[in-house]
Amino acid sequence: MSIAAAIAETADEGPKGPPPKRRGRFIPYLLMLPGALWLGIFFLVPLVTLFLTSLQTPVAGGDVGQFEQTFNFANYPETLTDPNYYVPLFRSFLYSASATILALLIGYPLAYGIAFKAGRFRNVLLVMVIAPFFVSFILRTIAWRQILADEGPVVAVLRVIGLVGPTGGVYPSAIAVVAGLTYNFLPFMTLPIYASLERVDHRLVEAAGDLYASPWTGFRKVTLPLSMPGVVAGTLLTFIPAAGDYVNAALLGTPKNTMIGNRIEFTFLSVNDYPTAAVLSFILMASILIMVLLYVRRVGTEDLV
């Protein structure tokens, strides 16, 4: 099962429609054709190429970056046991998971407020959630250097309340990287949650209140479970790209905060060790896939309609 299918499965909560009529049997496939072609050319082919690359070995006595096609599966265990690689990999998941949790903690109340409390300001607020996309990803991330700079307002406040020392700062650091990730992926968390909250029938919440549920209990028992498809979609849309991200670590972190994305970039472009870089890419992909499947199985199936 692909990730897309997993998301689609959890997001699908409506009653199943009637089975399609015989005559229109091929239409769905026809409609899928452009997408399938696109995926075939731009995803499947590079994937196969990448996989072949990951099995190459250096040409004996050749230049840097000269490899020949072999089927050297030993590349995988070799790379996996090298702390230069597994530490950034682990760090990626740590940062990405932290950012996902933070984005959920910020994004859920935000989406809830927009969906239920914003009244006529709803659309304005939605536009504001998306507004950062009008500025380039890189620029936005660089802006966080200013925000978190030692002379900046955030550090000033943190120094006053004593969370950092009088000369301490937060940029560059792991905290800055996680903050950047959280900020950059917040809309991907907020929008799916908003979409599923907006569909929650307010009358159900009223019914819960009528049946002795306090507003908080009503939220826990009715609103939250009904918005779970949005939570699942939002966490996946945040966690997956954040785990592979290297811009935030590059711009907001120190060399000690490198994530697997930075490693892959460095190995590919600076070391020109294509097989190792390819191996890392595959390991990243596989571990994300496994985690997502475990997550979707756990969270996705319970409490959903």
């Binding site: 009358r203 159900l204 009223e206 019914a207 209140g209 009528d210 049946l211 549920a213 028992k221 309609v305």
Partner: protein, 390 residues
């Protein structure tokens, strides 16, 4: 938890005192006062949009009244949050929780109150609505009528002081509807809950309720026992909305002892004063509406009864149309004065059927008529019935 205060366990009659609800400029419920005795079956009957749901929502606490108080017994619950009120609602749109199975839906209220033997009570409630076999299904897997019964069980299982039912049987077929009506009535008498039952269906209101309130445009037009309401409507709206009525304008001639004497172009009518609505001022020349139910009128061929009837009111006319309806025949009779009066005649023998153009005499007993204020719209409530039925 602190919710077991006295107010939440309130018992006693339900009082609505001068309750008003406005949405912007629109007044949905207008200065409504009524008392529902504890343990009674109270039906709220009225056309679509007259404010029935809004009234129930205020009692449930889901809508804040613009003005007025709501009390159960001594306890004022006007400011109480919905979840603290000893009130449950069967919602017009069911509002079942789609992510819970039927069992959990019904158990919801019990669990919130920390009741111990949830399982027995839930299963009992499900037996009652004959849906125990679908306890594990989700609401989306039930038919509309089944969902409605689940909504009923989900509320009844809590045995609230006041149960609000917003057209709880609307989606059921006639047979199931009759069956559930009996069940509801049985539960209500057995458990002694106060039921406020909103319905479009006047037959349902009249067969089930101890008291029926007819509501129109945010106010209660009349309230009373079903037979009182039917036999002595006080407004044209009630006369037309509850069953059918013939209403025609007349003028007061005199008050003669216990009787009032009225006159129109077709003749004179005499009725006891206790058949006159309070809003009528029985002064000479005062304009009134004379009302009589179609089934109370006796119809005869004119040739057979030339003598003026000594006792009773009568009008002469000609049959304009007749429609045979099995147990009875409905005639439309045009009077000389230009009124159209409809008559339901029991089909005693097929030979007696009258046909179009026959001259007839209509008679009815004085105590079967009623007198309403002449300034009312004769057709009030007629459209409402058609709309509600459609």
């Amino acid at each position: 938890m602190a919710r077991a205060t006295d107010v939440t366990k309130a018992q006693g009659d339900l009082y609505l005192e001068r309750l008003t609800k406005s949405f912007g400029d629109f007044v949905a419920v207008d200065d409504l006062s009524l008392t529902v005795p504890q343990g009674s079956f109270f039906a709220l009957l009225g056309p679509s949009g007259c404010g029935k749901t809004t009234t129930l929502r205020m009692v449930a606490g889901l809508e804040d009244p613009t003005a007025g108080r709501i009390k159960i017994g001594e306890a004022d619950i006007t400011e109480l949050k919905p979840f603290r009120r000893p009130v449950n609602t069967v919602f017009q749109n069911y509002a079942l929780f789609p992510h819970m199975d039927i069992y959990e839906n019904v158990a919801f209220g019990l669990r919130r109150r920390g009741i111990k033997d949830v399982k027995t009570q839930v299963m009992e409630a499900l037996e009652l609505i004959e849906l125990a076999q679908v306890a594990k299904r989700k609401p989306a897997q039930l038919s509309g009528g089944q969902q409605q019964r689940v909504a009923l069980a989900r509320a009844i299982v809590n045995r609230p002081a006041v149960l609000l039912l917003d057209e709880p049987l609307g989606a059921l077929d006639l047979k199931l509807r009759r069956q559930m009506q009996l069940e509801l009535k049985r539960i209500q008498t057995e458990v002694g809950l106060t039921f406020i039952h909103v319905t479009h269906d006047q037959e349902e209101a009249m067969t089930m309720a101890d008291t029926v309130a007819v509501m129109n445009k945010g106010v209660i037009e009349q309230l009373g026992a079903p037979t009182d309401l039917y036999e002595s409507p006080k407004t044209a709206f009630v006369a037309n909305f509850l069953g059918q009525s013939n209403l025609f304008p007349a003028a007061v001639l005199e008050v003669d002892g216990e009787d009032i004497v009225l006159e129109d172009s077709d003749g004179r009518y005499r009725m006891p004063m206790n058949r006159v609505a309070p809003s009528v001022s029985p002064t000479r020349g005062g304009r009134v509406l004379v009302g009589v139910r179609p089934e109370k009128i006796h119809i005869e061929r004119l040739a057979e009864s030339d003598a003026t009837p000594a006792d009773g009111n009568y009008v002469d006319g000609t049959v304009r149309s007749s429609s045979f309806m099995g147990v009875s025949t409905q005639y439309e009779v045009a009077t000389a004065g230009g009124e159209i009066i409809s008559v339901f005649a029991q089909n005693l023998s097929a030979r007696d059927l009258l046909s179009e153009g026959d001259p007839v005499r209509l008679t009815w007993a004085p105590r079967h008529g009623f007198v309403l204020n002449g300034s009312e719209d004769m057709n009030a409530g007629v459209e409402a019935v058609t709309a509600a039925a459609g």
